[in-house]
Structure formats: C-alpha cells, structure tokens
Amino acid sequence: MDTSRGGASGETTEQAQEERVWHAGREDPMPIRKLPEAPASLHILGPGMLLAALGVGLGETYLWPRLVILFGPEIRWLFFIGVTLQGVVMLEMARYATATGESIFFGAARLWRPIMWLFFGIAVLVYIWPGHVALGAQAFESLTGISWYIFAIAGLILIGVIISFSTIVYNVVEAILSTLIGVLVVGSSIIAALVGNLGFVWATITGLFTFGYVPKEVLSGPDAATLFPLIVGAIAFAGPSGMQQMWYTLWLRDKGAGMGTYIPRIKGLTHMDEEEAMPSRGYMFDTEDPENMERWKGWRRWVHFDAWVLFWGITMLTTIIYTVLAQSALQIDPGIREAILADDRSAVLDGMSGAFAQAGGALMGGLFFVFISVIGWKMTFGIFDAFSRGQADMTYYFIRPTQRFGMNKLYFVFLWFVILFGIAMLFVTGEEDGPAAILDILAVLSTFAMGAYCLLLLGTNNLLLPKKIRPNIIINILLAFAAIFYLGMLAYSYFRFGAII
C-alpha cells in the first residue's frame, strides 16, 4: 500500500494525509485517514440488530411456517443454510463498508458503473410495491373487520411523517424497528409457550440439521412445478432477503462504523438546515500502521458480534419459535395442510390464527393477525427507509447534477415518492390480485439480487481493498457457493419447471 503514517497531529497531519490516497477501481481515489476505535462493549443496539429486525419478517412468520406445515420441520435445514450464508454475506458487506465508509453500491460503481445501475433498477422493480404493508393491513382487517385499505394507507403516511420529523433518521429507524421486533419476539415467545411443547422444539432443532432432505413431491409429481419455486422463494426470504444486506452498508455508515465516521448522517426534514457537506467518495486507512490494524481487529470483532449474535442468533431464535407455532397449528387443525395444497394462500394466516384460538381456550386467535400487521408495517417502514437511502446514495454520487440538492433532499424525494406511489398502487390493485401475488414476484427478484451481490462482494472485497484486509480463501469459497446456491436454484426452477414463481 502506497502510504506511510502522517505527522503527529493537527494541520501537519491533515496536509500530509491529503497527499496519501488509496486507488480503488475506476472512481476517485480514497484519501487516507485514521481508523477510529471500535466500541468497547458489544451492545445489543446496532445495525446488525436493525438487519435482524428487518430480516425477521414474512419469511419467518409466513412463508416458512407454510413450508413446515406442508413438509414438516425437516425442511428447515434449507433455512439454516440460507441464514448461515447470510451471516457470511453480512460480514463481507461490513468489511467493505467499515473499511471505506462507502456503500456497497459505490463499491459496485468502482468495479463498473453498469453493475451499480443494475442494482438501482432491481431496487425500483422490487421495492416500490406496498406488498408488505398491504398484507399486514389485510391481517388487521381479519381481526377488526375494517377495510384494509384504510390501515395500509394510514400506515404508509405514518412512515413518512415519523421519518420526516426525526432529527437523525437512522436513530429513529433503529429505535422503532428494535422495539417492534422486541414486541414480536416477546409476544411470539409467550404464544409458543402457551401452545407448544418440548417435543416440537426437539423436532425443530433436529429439523435444522436434516441436511439433504427434500420431499419427493417437490422434485417430481404434479405439484412439483408449484412447490419447487415456493421453496426457492422461501429460501430467498430466509433472513434478510433481496437487497437488505446491501442497505446494511448504508446503516453502518450512518451509525458511524469504521470509516463511516467520516461521512455525515441523514437528518430529518425539519433538521435539513444542519446538513453537512457530503464528501465525494469514501476513505481508507493505512493498513501498514499497526495501530490501525489493531483497531481494524476491534471492528471485525464488533461486526462478528453483529452478524452472529444479533443477526444469526435472533433470526434462528424467531425461527424456532415460529416453527413450534406452525407445528402446533397443524396438530390442532390438520385441515390447514389441505387448504395450503389447494393453493389457498391465506390458509396459513387463517389456519394458524384459528388453530391458536382453539388451542389456548380462545386466548390467542387474534394475536397472530396482530403480529402479521406489525411485521407488515415495520417491513415497509424499514424497507422504504433503506430503499430511499440506497437510491439517494447512487443518485447523489453518480448523477452529478443532483449533488446541488444534497443527499438529504434526495433521500426525502425517494421516500415520499415511494410512499405516494404505494398509496396510488393500493387504489389501483384489486383485492383479488392480492398482495401475496406481489410477494411472490418479490421473492424471485430477491433471489437474483442475492446471487448477484455475492458475486459483487467477491469483486469489491478482493479487488478494491488493500491486501491485508481482504477476505480469506474460505470466505471466498463460501461467497462463491452462495452465488451458485441462489442463482443455481433460480435457474433450475426456471429450466426444470418452466416457472420462476
């Protein structure tokens, strides 16, 4: 690395450091700065928590319980593989973001700008739909009898208002998502404690390790064309789906992790006058400096805690709870399975709710619907924030004329666009077409994006970072495997069954 340590302190250091840069890919070189120290404590609040909070969603509570009811808890091994690969991906996303303070989108542009624009396009295609909030609102309609359109539109407007009036947007998003996921985990633990038993937990845990189990009807038979794509979609929904991992790099930056500390944060609409100047690229630290490398190790420890304890641990915990719930539902009402096979998409929601109502002496009939509502809203809340961050980031840096508006304004343009578009879509989409149809399309594009970002990470982390902080061979093999896993399943689904959804 073409760097040496700067002066002792103050202006001299600044001047000395300005001359030292790290050339990475095609964009502007990164100036060398000192890597800040990692936090001493491993705290529960962090971007990993945020990713877990966003990731634990309809996959865990809706798509996977559906698969467990159809095929038994043994199918969960695929979930285990999916979430573990996501843990590795998360570490690598964090590697790029903490080392540079840049988003992974910027990294993509450093390799070749069209790659970044590809993700820009996928984000628009996948994430502007209000599918989550609509499904959540539908669940609320089942509970209250009030039309779901009202809840969905109110939910969308609420998102805009909360974010617009926040001081630092990231802090508010983190607080709301963490609290909601906390409520969800507490509530579902209590329900599972009231309907489940030890046998279910044992079946769930062993099911996570029945590697290789694939039911015959998934690969051949009359239902294979429906069931295989269903599994592919569900795997994409294991943990953070689609581009959520890419957005994690933006949250890391706003949290001030690693070199992200040098990048200003996004502020609410009412605090726009305090906006700081956004640098035109990220930064790099001197990897020849032992002190910096020591601090880098500290950040890697912090990121590992984020990835394995907060993200992986909490996701697996929620999964175990919801698998117990699904098994309880099936035991109480075996008719759910037939209803799902008959392609009644809402059978899982109605079935699980109904089964719990019978089981707990009418204790819990409504709670499942409440949870789905909460999940639907918080997913949309988190996704709309992240989507706006990502699109604003790419627009600001790579459509230069937009820089005069500033990152903050661009963020709010995207946010309110996606909210208003969502409201418009809710008026256009008929109830018969249903939000579930949107979710299936989302699952397919998610799978593609996930395979693609694994390849992207192989490129950014091996070509753009200094040698000393590049991933090792095992990580690279795992990333390559993940890319084959996601893209391969998608391709197999298409060529074998002629259907991608």
Binding site: H43, L45, G182, V186, N197, G365, L367, V370
Partner: protein, 158 residues
Amino acid sequence: MRVLRLLKIPGMVTGFVAGLLVGGLAAVAGAPTSYIVVSALGLGVPLAVFGIIYDALLDAGRIPFGRIAPVALYGILTFPIARLIQELLLTAIFGQGITLQHESGVLSFLVFQGIMGFGYGIGFLMIHSQIIEVSAWRAYRKQAKEESNQPQTAEKRV
C-alpha cells in the same frame, strides 16, 4: 432517589404489559371475564415482579446494561416460574391450566418454558433498552458518574 425509582419502571412495565397481552387477546377472542383476568394477572404480575428485580440488579451493577447473555439467562430462569404460577392459578380456579396438563411432566414443562424464556429474555432486552434509552437511564448515568465512584456499565454508542 427519584431517578432510581424511575429506573425500576421499565422492567416492571415491560413484564407487566407482556402478561397483559395475553389477557387482552383473551378479551378480543371473547373468553369469560374471570378467565381473562386470571390468565393476564397470573402471568403479568410475576413477569412484572421479575422485571423490577431485573432493574434492581441492573441498578446494583450485578447485570451489565445491554448485554444479551445475562438477560437471556435471566429469562430462562424466571419465565418458567411465571408460567408455572399462571398454570397453577388457572388449574386451582378453573380446574385446568393451558398446557401444563398436556406435558409429560412438570420437568418437561419447565424445560420447554425455559427455552421460550430465552426468547422472552431477548425480546425483553430489546424493548427494555429502548425504554431506558429515552427514560431515566441517561440522567441516571450522568448523575452517577458525577456523584459516585460506582463503576459504570459500559454502554457506548458507536
């Protein structure tokens, strides 16, 4: 010490509301009033008490703030007790509990509830941390830092 009293609230509220959740749902689902009250209070009160104890331990510096492992362990130990109290109350009053009679024995009941208690503990911490963030914790830390020589629990934002 008003601040210290305030500090006891988040744990109590989190536990009690979790218990009331059960009662609230029973109400939505149309269960008899007596059943709603007993099932809600039977779980809500013990969880609230354990919440208060948690805050007291936090205050005494026995549990570090924001760490996962201690609170998960706390959940594993206390949640089964709260559930057992609820089941015994319901059995005593209405003749049968919710799941206790379906388990093969009290031990397997407690083990299963302990596993769910792990989840409860993690969720409790997430909510608790957020309440603390906006409540007395910051003021308390500042005050404690200035006034006492008690070691500070490490909560450092990035």
